[in-house]
Symmetry: C2
Subunit: 254 residues, 2 copies
Protein backbone atom coordinates (compact mmCIF):
# COMPACT_ATOMS: atom_id res chain seq x y z
CA UNK A 1 0.00 0.00 0.00
CA UNK A 2 1.16 3.52 -0.76
CA UNK A 3 1.09 5.87 2.20
CA UNK A 4 -0.92 9.10 1.84
CA UNK A 5 0.86 11.91 0.06
CA UNK A 6 0.56 15.62 0.63
CA UNK A 7 -1.41 17.78 -1.74
CA UNK A 8 0.59 19.49 -4.42
CA UNK A 9 2.55 18.41 -7.41
CA UNK A 10 4.15 15.46 -5.71
CA UNK A 11 0.72 13.94 -6.22
CA UNK A 12 2.14 13.08 -9.60
CA UNK A 13 3.30 9.91 -7.95
CA UNK A 14 -0.23 8.82 -7.22
CA UNK A 15 -0.42 7.40 -10.70
CA UNK A 16 2.07 4.77 -9.63
CA UNK A 17 -0.05 3.53 -6.77
CA UNK A 18 -2.60 2.08 -9.16
CA UNK A 19 -2.05 -1.68 -8.89
CA UNK A 20 -3.71 -2.27 -12.23
CA UNK A 21 -1.14 -0.25 -14.11
CA UNK A 22 2.12 -2.11 -14.05
CA UNK A 23 5.66 -0.94 -14.32
CA UNK A 24 7.54 2.24 -14.86
CA UNK A 25 6.39 5.53 -16.32
CA UNK A 26 8.55 6.98 -19.04
CA UNK A 27 8.93 10.60 -18.07
CA UNK A 28 12.64 11.09 -18.10
CA UNK A 29 13.36 11.45 -21.78
CA UNK A 30 9.99 12.76 -22.81
CA UNK A 31 9.46 15.94 -20.82
CA UNK A 32 9.16 18.87 -23.17
CA UNK A 33 8.99 16.47 -26.09
CA UNK A 34 6.32 17.92 -28.41
CA UNK A 35 5.61 14.66 -30.18
CA UNK A 36 5.06 12.72 -27.00
CA UNK A 37 3.05 15.29 -25.18
CA UNK A 38 1.43 17.39 -27.89
CA UNK A 39 -2.05 16.34 -26.90
CA UNK A 40 -1.68 16.98 -23.20
CA UNK A 41 0.46 20.08 -23.01
CA UNK A 42 -2.43 22.55 -22.69
CA UNK A 43 -3.81 20.43 -19.91
CA UNK A 44 -0.57 20.05 -18.03
CA UNK A 45 1.25 23.34 -18.44
CA UNK A 46 -0.59 24.99 -15.56
CA UNK A 47 0.59 22.12 -13.36
CA UNK A 48 4.05 21.83 -14.86
CA UNK A 49 6.23 20.47 -12.06
CA UNK A 50 9.60 21.69 -13.35
CA UNK A 51 11.18 25.02 -12.63
CA UNK A 52 13.15 25.43 -15.84
CA UNK A 53 14.42 23.70 -18.93
CA UNK A 54 16.81 21.07 -17.57
CA UNK A 55 20.21 20.19 -19.02
CA UNK A 56 20.33 17.67 -21.88
CA UNK A 57 22.89 14.96 -21.08
CA UNK A 58 22.75 13.25 -24.46
CA UNK A 59 25.34 15.50 -26.08
CA UNK A 60 28.95 14.73 -27.04
CA UNK A 61 31.61 14.98 -24.33
CA UNK A 62 35.33 14.22 -24.02
CA UNK A 63 34.74 10.64 -22.87
CA UNK A 64 33.18 9.61 -26.16
CA UNK A 65 35.23 7.26 -28.31
CA UNK A 66 35.71 8.07 -32.02
CA UNK A 67 33.22 5.28 -32.79
CA UNK A 68 30.59 6.79 -30.47
CA UNK A 69 31.06 10.17 -32.12
CA UNK A 70 30.97 8.70 -35.63
CA UNK A 71 27.61 7.00 -35.09
CA UNK A 72 26.22 10.09 -33.33
CA UNK A 73 27.26 12.32 -36.24
CA UNK A 74 25.66 9.88 -38.69
CA UNK A 75 22.26 10.11 -37.03
CA UNK A 76 22.51 13.85 -36.28
CA UNK A 77 22.96 14.37 -40.01
CA UNK A 78 19.69 12.52 -40.58
CA UNK A 79 17.85 14.88 -38.23
CA UNK A 80 18.15 17.73 -40.71
CA UNK A 81 18.05 17.29 -44.47
CA UNK A 82 18.75 19.70 -47.30
CA UNK A 83 16.10 20.29 -49.93
CA UNK A 84 16.83 20.67 -53.66
CA UNK A 85 16.66 24.42 -53.22
CA UNK A 86 19.41 24.29 -50.59
CA UNK A 87 17.14 24.90 -47.62
CA UNK A 88 17.37 22.78 -44.53
CA UNK A 89 14.35 21.11 -43.01
CA UNK A 90 13.56 18.56 -40.35
CA UNK A 91 14.71 15.07 -41.35
CA UNK A 92 13.17 11.68 -40.63
CA UNK A 93 15.12 11.26 -37.38
CA UNK A 94 14.94 13.24 -34.15
CA UNK A 95 17.29 13.18 -31.16
CA UNK A 96 15.54 12.77 -27.83
CA UNK A 97 16.83 14.94 -24.99
CA UNK A 98 17.81 13.17 -21.77
CA UNK A 99 17.70 14.73 -18.29
CA UNK A 100 19.01 13.53 -14.97
CA UNK A 101 16.23 14.29 -12.53
CA UNK A 102 12.53 14.85 -12.15
CA UNK A 103 11.80 14.76 -8.44
CA UNK A 104 13.91 17.83 -7.68
CA UNK A 105 11.31 19.96 -9.40
CA UNK A 106 8.26 18.47 -7.72
CA UNK A 107 6.71 20.37 -4.82
CA UNK A 108 5.32 19.07 -1.59
CA UNK A 109 5.27 15.46 -0.54
CA UNK A 110 5.59 14.01 2.91
CA UNK A 111 6.23 10.32 2.62
CA UNK A 112 9.60 10.59 0.86
CA UNK A 113 12.50 11.92 2.90
CA UNK A 114 13.71 15.45 2.16
CA UNK A 115 17.09 13.98 1.24
CA UNK A 116 15.56 11.76 -1.44
CA UNK A 117 13.42 14.59 -2.76
CA UNK A 118 16.40 16.87 -3.16
CA UNK A 119 19.03 14.36 -4.26
CA UNK A 120 17.18 11.75 -6.31
CA UNK A 121 18.67 11.20 -9.76
CA UNK A 122 17.56 9.29 -12.82
CA UNK A 123 19.33 5.92 -12.67
CA UNK A 124 20.95 6.16 -16.11
CA UNK A 125 22.23 9.71 -15.51
CA UNK A 126 23.18 9.53 -11.84
CA UNK A 127 26.97 9.32 -12.28
CA UNK A 128 28.49 12.75 -12.85
CA UNK A 129 31.84 11.58 -14.25
CA UNK A 130 31.69 11.59 -18.04
CA UNK A 131 32.11 8.15 -19.55
CA UNK A 132 32.12 6.24 -16.26
CA UNK A 133 28.66 4.73 -16.64
CA UNK A 134 25.94 5.15 -19.30
CA UNK A 135 26.79 7.35 -22.28
CA UNK A 136 23.89 7.22 -24.72
CA UNK A 137 21.78 9.11 -27.20
CA UNK A 138 18.41 7.99 -28.55
CA UNK A 139 17.31 8.87 -32.10
CA UNK A 140 13.68 8.29 -33.05
CA UNK A 141 12.20 7.85 -36.51
CA UNK A 142 8.52 8.34 -35.79
CA UNK A 143 7.43 7.74 -39.38
CA UNK A 144 9.04 4.29 -39.40
CA UNK A 145 8.00 3.69 -35.78
CA UNK A 146 11.50 2.78 -34.70
CA UNK A 147 14.52 4.17 -32.90
CA UNK A 148 18.26 3.63 -32.54
CA UNK A 149 20.31 4.31 -29.43
CA UNK A 150 24.08 4.65 -29.56
CA UNK A 151 25.41 3.41 -26.21
CA UNK A 152 28.95 3.49 -24.81
CA UNK A 153 29.32 1.34 -21.68
CA UNK A 154 31.58 2.82 -18.99
CA UNK A 155 33.87 1.18 -16.44
CA UNK A 156 31.27 1.24 -13.64
CA UNK A 157 28.89 -1.10 -15.48
CA UNK A 158 30.96 -4.26 -15.07
CA UNK A 159 29.38 -7.67 -14.61
CA UNK A 160 31.70 -10.50 -15.71
CA UNK A 161 35.33 -9.37 -15.83
CA UNK A 162 35.73 -6.86 -18.64
CA UNK A 163 32.11 -7.09 -19.79
CA UNK A 164 28.86 -5.23 -19.21
CA UNK A 165 26.49 -6.39 -16.44
CA UNK A 166 23.25 -8.00 -17.63
CA UNK A 167 21.34 -5.54 -15.46
CA UNK A 168 23.02 -2.56 -17.14
CA UNK A 169 22.01 -3.96 -20.53
CA UNK A 170 18.45 -4.46 -19.25
CA UNK A 171 18.47 -0.86 -17.99
CA UNK A 172 19.38 0.49 -21.41
CA UNK A 173 16.84 -1.77 -23.15
CA UNK A 174 14.11 -0.56 -20.77
CA UNK A 175 15.15 3.06 -21.33
CA UNK A 176 15.27 2.84 -25.13
CA UNK A 177 12.10 0.79 -25.63
CA UNK A 178 10.26 2.97 -23.12
CA UNK A 179 11.44 6.08 -24.93
CA UNK A 180 10.09 4.83 -28.26
CA UNK A 181 6.82 3.61 -26.72
CA UNK A 182 6.23 7.03 -25.16
CA UNK A 183 6.92 8.78 -28.46
CA UNK A 184 4.40 6.57 -30.23
CA UNK A 185 1.73 6.07 -27.55
CA UNK A 186 2.18 8.97 -25.14
CA UNK A 187 2.70 8.40 -21.41
CA UNK A 188 3.20 4.70 -20.68
CA UNK A 189 4.54 2.32 -18.04
CA UNK A 190 6.57 -0.85 -18.52
CA UNK A 191 4.52 -4.00 -17.91
CA UNK A 192 6.91 -6.68 -19.23
CA UNK A 193 10.50 -7.05 -20.43
CA UNK A 194 11.69 -10.34 -21.94
CA UNK A 195 15.44 -10.29 -22.59
CA UNK A 196 17.64 -12.95 -24.21
CA UNK A 197 21.39 -12.51 -23.83
CA UNK A 198 23.20 -13.89 -26.89
CA UNK A 199 26.78 -12.69 -26.48
CA UNK A 200 28.42 -10.40 -23.91
CA UNK A 201 29.33 -6.75 -24.51
CA UNK A 202 32.90 -5.63 -23.89
CA UNK A 203 33.29 -2.91 -21.24
CA UNK A 204 34.11 0.42 -22.88
CA UNK A 205 32.70 -0.56 -26.27
CA UNK A 206 29.93 1.08 -28.29
CA UNK A 207 26.80 -0.78 -29.38
CA UNK A 208 23.55 0.07 -31.09
CA UNK A 209 20.18 -0.58 -29.47
CA UNK A 210 17.50 -0.83 -32.14
CA UNK A 211 13.85 -0.85 -31.16
CA UNK A 212 10.73 -1.00 -33.31
CA UNK A 213 6.98 -1.06 -32.82
CA UNK A 214 5.47 -4.50 -33.16
CA UNK A 215 1.78 -3.68 -32.70
CA UNK A 216 -0.73 -1.79 -30.57
CA UNK A 217 -3.77 -3.38 -28.92
CA UNK A 218 -5.88 -0.79 -27.16
CA UNK A 219 -3.81 0.51 -24.25
CA UNK A 220 -1.02 -2.01 -24.89
CA UNK A 221 2.04 -1.15 -26.99
CA UNK A 222 4.27 -4.10 -27.98
CA UNK A 223 7.84 -3.51 -29.17
CA UNK A 224 10.92 -5.48 -30.17
CA UNK A 225 14.60 -4.72 -29.55
CA UNK A 226 18.02 -5.85 -30.76
CA UNK A 227 21.42 -4.87 -29.34
CA UNK A 228 24.14 -5.17 -31.98
CA UNK A 229 27.68 -4.10 -32.77
CA UNK A 230 27.87 -0.74 -34.54
CA UNK A 231 28.33 -2.48 -37.91
CA UNK A 232 25.26 -4.60 -37.05
CA UNK A 233 27.06 -7.88 -37.82
CA UNK A 234 27.08 -9.16 -34.23
CA UNK A 235 23.93 -9.71 -32.17
CA UNK A 236 24.46 -9.20 -28.44
CA UNK A 237 20.94 -9.16 -27.00
CA UNK A 238 17.31 -9.50 -28.09
CA UNK A 239 14.19 -8.35 -26.24
CA UNK A 240 10.46 -7.85 -26.43
CA UNK A 241 8.48 -5.50 -24.23
CA UNK A 242 4.95 -4.53 -23.36
CA UNK A 243 4.08 -0.99 -22.25
CA UNK A 244 0.68 0.11 -20.95
CA UNK A 245 -0.70 3.58 -21.65
CA UNK A 246 -1.71 5.71 -18.70
CA UNK A 247 -3.89 8.78 -18.47
CA UNK A 248 -1.56 11.73 -18.06
CA UNK A 249 -4.36 13.77 -16.49
CA UNK A 250 -4.28 11.28 -13.65
CA UNK A 251 -0.60 12.10 -13.19
CA UNK A 252 -1.42 15.70 -12.49
CA UNK A 253 -4.44 15.00 -10.36
CA UNK A 254 -6.91 16.30 -12.92
CA UNK B 1 34.29 -10.88 -33.14
CA UNK B 2 36.52 -10.58 -30.09
CA UNK B 3 39.96 -9.18 -30.71
CA UNK B 4 42.96 -11.28 -29.57
CA UNK B 5 43.91 -10.94 -25.92
CA UNK B 6 47.35 -11.16 -24.38
CA UNK B 7 48.44 -14.28 -22.57
CA UNK B 8 47.95 -14.26 -18.83
CA UNK B 9 45.05 -14.25 -16.51
CA UNK B 10 43.06 -11.75 -18.53
CA UNK B 11 42.42 -14.76 -20.71
CA UNK B 12 39.65 -15.41 -18.23
CA UNK B 13 37.55 -13.23 -20.46
CA UNK B 14 37.92 -15.62 -23.38
CA UNK B 15 35.08 -17.60 -21.96
CA UNK B 16 32.77 -14.76 -22.87
CA UNK B 17 33.72 -14.76 -26.52
CA UNK B 18 31.94 -18.07 -27.06
CA UNK B 19 28.86 -17.10 -29.04
CA UNK B 20 27.09 -20.31 -28.11
CA UNK B 21 27.09 -19.50 -24.43
CA UNK B 22 24.71 -16.66 -23.81
CA UNK B 23 24.62 -14.01 -21.18
CA UNK B 24 26.50 -13.01 -18.15
CA UNK B 25 28.76 -15.06 -15.93
CA UNK B 26 28.02 -14.96 -12.25
CA UNK B 27 31.38 -14.38 -10.67
CA UNK B 28 30.79 -11.38 -8.52
CA UNK B 29 29.09 -12.86 -5.52
CA UNK B 30 30.53 -16.32 -5.84
CA UNK B 31 34.29 -15.90 -5.64
CA UNK B 32 35.62 -17.76 -2.63
CA UNK B 33 32.19 -19.32 -2.12
CA UNK B 34 32.89 -22.95 -1.17
CA UNK B 35 29.49 -24.22 -2.22
CA UNK B 36 29.66 -22.68 -5.65
CA UNK B 37 33.25 -23.55 -6.41
CA UNK B 38 33.96 -26.60 -4.30
CA UNK B 39 34.46 -28.79 -7.32
CA UNK B 40 36.78 -26.49 -9.20
CA UNK B 41 38.89 -24.87 -6.53
CA UNK B 42 41.85 -27.30 -6.81
CA UNK B 43 41.87 -26.69 -10.53
CA UNK B 44 41.67 -22.96 -10.36
CA UNK B 45 43.73 -21.96 -7.31
CA UNK B 46 46.99 -22.00 -9.21
CA UNK B 47 45.47 -19.55 -11.65
CA UNK B 48 43.58 -17.52 -9.05
CA UNK B 49 43.32 -14.02 -10.52
CA UNK B 50 42.85 -12.12 -7.26
CA UNK B 51 45.59 -10.76 -5.09
CA UNK B 52 43.84 -11.05 -1.75
CA UNK B 53 40.51 -11.58 -0.04
CA UNK B 54 38.42 -8.62 -1.18
CA UNK B 55 36.12 -6.54 1.01
CA UNK B 56 32.57 -7.81 1.57
CA UNK B 57 30.09 -5.00 0.83
CA UNK B 58 27.00 -6.84 2.04
CA UNK B 59 27.40 -5.82 5.67
CA UNK B 60 25.39 -3.28 7.72
CA UNK B 61 26.31 0.39 7.38
CA UNK B 62 24.91 3.70 8.66
CA UNK B 63 22.68 4.19 5.61
CA UNK B 64 20.56 1.16 6.41
CA UNK B 65 17.02 1.89 7.58
CA UNK B 66 15.71 0.14 10.71
CA UNK B 67 13.62 -2.10 8.42
CA UNK B 68 16.70 -3.12 6.39
CA UNK B 69 18.55 -3.96 9.59
CA UNK B 70 15.58 -5.83 11.06
CA UNK B 71 15.29 -8.17 8.06
CA UNK B 72 19.07 -8.62 7.90
CA UNK B 73 19.19 -9.58 11.58
CA UNK B 74 16.33 -12.03 11.05
CA UNK B 75 18.21 -13.95 8.35
CA UNK B 76 21.60 -13.65 10.05
CA UNK B 77 20.04 -15.41 13.05
CA UNK B 78 19.03 -18.27 10.74
CA UNK B 79 22.62 -18.70 9.56
CA UNK B 80 23.65 -20.11 12.93
CA UNK B 81 21.39 -22.23 15.11
CA UNK B 82 21.79 -23.46 18.66
CA UNK B 83 21.59 -27.19 19.36
CA UNK B 84 19.85 -28.68 22.41
CA UNK B 85 23.23 -28.92 24.10
CA UNK B 86 23.75 -25.18 23.72
CA UNK B 87 26.33 -25.46 20.96
CA UNK B 88 26.09 -23.34 17.87
CA UNK B 89 26.22 -24.85 14.42
CA UNK B 90 25.65 -23.77 10.84
CA UNK B 91 21.98 -23.05 10.15
CA UNK B 92 19.92 -23.60 7.02
CA UNK B 93 20.73 -20.14 5.61
CA UNK B 94 24.04 -18.68 4.48
CA UNK B 95 24.92 -15.06 3.66
CA UNK B 96 26.69 -14.62 0.34
CA UNK B 97 29.60 -12.18 0.33
CA UNK B 98 29.52 -9.41 -2.30
CA UNK B 99 32.59 -7.72 -3.77
CA UNK B 100 32.96 -4.66 -5.96
CA UNK B 101 35.51 -5.67 -8.56
CA UNK B 102 37.10 -8.53 -10.41
CA UNK B 103 39.06 -7.06 -13.26
CA UNK B 104 41.43 -5.12 -11.03
CA UNK B 105 43.11 -8.35 -10.07
CA UNK B 106 43.50 -9.75 -13.56
CA UNK B 107 46.92 -9.50 -15.19
CA UNK B 108 47.84 -8.63 -18.74
CA UNK B 109 45.37 -7.87 -21.48
CA UNK B 110 45.73 -5.62 -24.47
CA UNK B 111 42.31 -5.00 -25.91
CA UNK B 112 40.84 -3.30 -22.84
CA UNK B 113 42.25 0.09 -21.96
CA UNK B 114 44.50 0.35 -18.89
CA UNK B 115 41.97 2.75 -17.38
CA UNK B 116 39.19 0.20 -17.62
CA UNK B 117 41.41 -2.57 -16.26
CA UNK B 118 42.33 -0.53 -13.22
CA UNK B 119 39.05 1.23 -12.55
CA UNK B 120 36.32 -1.20 -13.58
CA UNK B 121 33.75 -1.83 -10.86
CA UNK B 122 30.90 -4.28 -10.46
CA UNK B 123 27.74 -2.43 -11.54
CA UNK B 124 25.79 -3.03 -8.32
CA UNK B 125 28.72 -1.96 -6.11
CA UNK B 126 30.19 0.88 -8.14
CA UNK B 127 28.85 3.79 -6.05
CA UNK B 128 31.02 4.43 -3.00
CA UNK B 129 28.53 6.51 -1.03
CA UNK B 130 26.67 4.28 1.41
CA UNK B 131 22.95 4.08 0.70
CA UNK B 132 23.02 6.11 -2.53
CA UNK B 133 22.43 3.18 -4.88
CA UNK B 134 22.13 -0.58 -4.26
CA UNK B 135 22.25 -1.74 -0.63
CA UNK B 136 21.61 -5.48 -0.57
CA UNK B 137 22.45 -8.78 1.06
CA UNK B 138 21.66 -12.21 -0.38
CA UNK B 139 20.88 -15.17 1.90
CA UNK B 140 20.81 -18.65 0.38
CA UNK B 141 19.08 -21.78 1.67
CA UNK B 142 20.76 -24.45 -0.40
CA UNK B 143 18.70 -27.30 1.07
CA UNK B 144 15.46 -25.64 0.01
CA UNK B 145 17.04 -24.44 -3.25
CA UNK B 146 15.97 -20.86 -2.70
CA UNK B 147 17.28 -17.49 -1.59
CA UNK B 148 16.09 -14.15 -0.22
CA UNK B 149 17.71 -10.79 -0.87
CA UNK B 150 16.99 -7.78 1.30
CA UNK B 151 17.33 -4.71 -0.92
CA UNK B 152 17.22 -1.01 -0.01
CA UNK B 153 16.93 1.24 -3.09
CA UNK B 154 18.96 4.46 -2.89
CA UNK B 155 18.31 7.91 -4.33
CA UNK B 156 20.42 7.32 -7.47
CA UNK B 157 18.15 4.55 -8.75
CA UNK B 158 15.23 6.77 -9.73
CA UNK B 159 13.02 6.04 -12.73
CA UNK B 160 9.57 7.60 -12.39
CA UNK B 161 9.54 10.43 -9.85
CA UNK B 162 10.10 8.96 -6.40
CA UNK B 163 10.23 5.36 -7.60
CA UNK B 164 12.87 2.82 -8.59
CA UNK B 165 13.88 2.51 -12.27
CA UNK B 166 12.76 -0.68 -14.01
CA UNK B 167 16.37 -1.28 -15.04
CA UNK B 168 17.56 -1.09 -11.44
CA UNK B 169 14.93 -3.68 -10.48
CA UNK B 170 16.06 -5.87 -13.40
CA UNK B 171 19.66 -5.48 -12.22
CA UNK B 172 18.83 -6.76 -8.76
CA UNK B 173 16.72 -9.61 -10.14
CA UNK B 174 19.59 -10.65 -12.41
CA UNK B 175 22.05 -10.43 -9.53
CA UNK B 176 19.91 -12.42 -7.07
CA UNK B 177 18.76 -15.13 -9.48
CA UNK B 178 22.28 -15.48 -10.86
CA UNK B 179 23.65 -15.79 -7.34
CA UNK B 180 21.27 -18.63 -6.52
CA UNK B 181 21.84 -20.37 -9.86
CA UNK B 182 25.61 -20.29 -9.30
CA UNK B 183 25.22 -21.72 -5.80
CA UNK B 184 23.12 -24.59 -7.13
CA UNK B 185 24.70 -25.25 -10.53
CA UNK B 186 28.22 -23.81 -10.27
CA UNK B 187 29.49 -21.27 -12.80
CA UNK B 188 26.68 -20.07 -15.08
CA UNK B 189 25.72 -17.31 -17.46
CA UNK B 190 22.35 -15.60 -17.89
CA UNK B 191 20.55 -16.66 -21.07
CA UNK B 192 17.08 -15.17 -20.47
CA UNK B 193 15.29 -12.85 -18.08
CA UNK B 194 11.50 -12.40 -18.31
CA UNK B 195 10.29 -9.67 -15.95
CA UNK B 196 6.73 -8.50 -15.25
CA UNK B 197 6.35 -5.23 -13.36
CA UNK B 198 3.23 -5.32 -11.19
CA UNK B 199 3.55 -2.24 -8.97
CA UNK B 200 6.32 0.33 -8.56
CA UNK B 201 8.82 0.42 -5.69
CA UNK B 202 9.18 3.61 -3.66
CA UNK B 203 12.66 5.15 -3.72
CA UNK B 204 14.39 4.60 -0.39
CA UNK B 205 12.21 1.65 0.61
CA UNK B 206 13.25 -1.91 1.45
CA UNK B 207 11.92 -4.92 -0.45
CA UNK B 208 12.56 -8.65 -0.49
CA UNK B 209 13.69 -10.45 -3.63
CA UNK B 210 12.78 -14.13 -3.35
CA UNK B 211 14.17 -16.61 -5.87
CA UNK B 212 13.73 -20.37 -6.10
CA UNK B 213 14.86 -23.20 -8.36
CA UNK B 214 12.20 -24.31 -10.80
CA UNK B 215 14.04 -27.18 -12.52
CA UNK B 216 17.29 -28.24 -14.15
CA UNK B 217 17.56 -29.69 -17.66
CA UNK B 218 21.11 -30.68 -18.48
CA UNK B 219 23.15 -27.48 -18.60
CA UNK B 220 20.06 -25.30 -18.16
CA UNK B 221 18.94 -24.02 -14.76
CA UNK B 222 15.45 -22.46 -14.60
CA UNK B 223 14.45 -20.23 -11.69
CA UNK B 224 11.55 -18.05 -10.56
CA UNK B 225 11.61 -14.75 -8.69
CA UNK B 226 9.21 -12.48 -6.80
CA UNK B 227 9.90 -8.98 -5.46
CA UNK B 228 7.64 -8.17 -2.51
CA UNK B 229 7.24 -5.78 0.40
CA UNK B 230 9.10 -6.94 3.52
CA UNK B 231 5.85 -8.26 5.03
CA UNK B 232 5.29 -10.10 1.72
CA UNK B 233 1.73 -8.75 1.34
CA UNK B 234 2.48 -6.62 -1.73
CA UNK B 235 3.85 -8.02 -5.00
CA UNK B 236 6.03 -5.56 -6.90
CA UNK B 237 7.64 -7.67 -9.63
CA UNK B 238 7.71 -11.26 -10.94
CA UNK B 239 10.36 -12.90 -13.09
CA UNK B 240 11.60 -16.14 -14.58
CA UNK B 241 15.16 -16.77 -15.72
CA UNK B 242 17.28 -19.30 -17.56
CA UNK B 243 20.96 -19.72 -16.75
CA UNK B 244 23.37 -21.89 -18.73
CA UNK B 245 26.25 -23.77 -17.04
CA UNK B 246 29.74 -23.12 -18.34
CA UNK B 247 32.97 -25.05 -17.88
CA UNK B 248 35.02 -23.11 -15.37
CA UNK B 249 38.20 -24.69 -16.67
CA UNK B 250 37.54 -22.83 -19.89
CA UNK B 251 37.53 -19.59 -17.88
CA UNK B 252 41.06 -20.20 -16.75
CA UNK B 253 42.34 -21.41 -20.08
CA UNK B 254 42.74 -25.02 -18.93
Amino acid sequence: MMRPVAKGLISIIRAFSNPNVAGILRLQTQWNSPSAFQNIRPLSMSLWPFSAQPRDFSLPNASWSPEMRRVYDHYIALCEVETIGGEKKTGPWRKLPSYNRTLKYAKGGTYLSKMIQSKARLFTRSIKEHGAAFEYVIFVNKQEKRCVCVFQAGRLLEGPPGHVHGGAIATMIDTVMGGLAACLSGPIMTANLNISYRSPITLGSVVLIHSALDHVEGRKTFLTCRVTSTDETKLHTEATALFVSINVGHLFGT
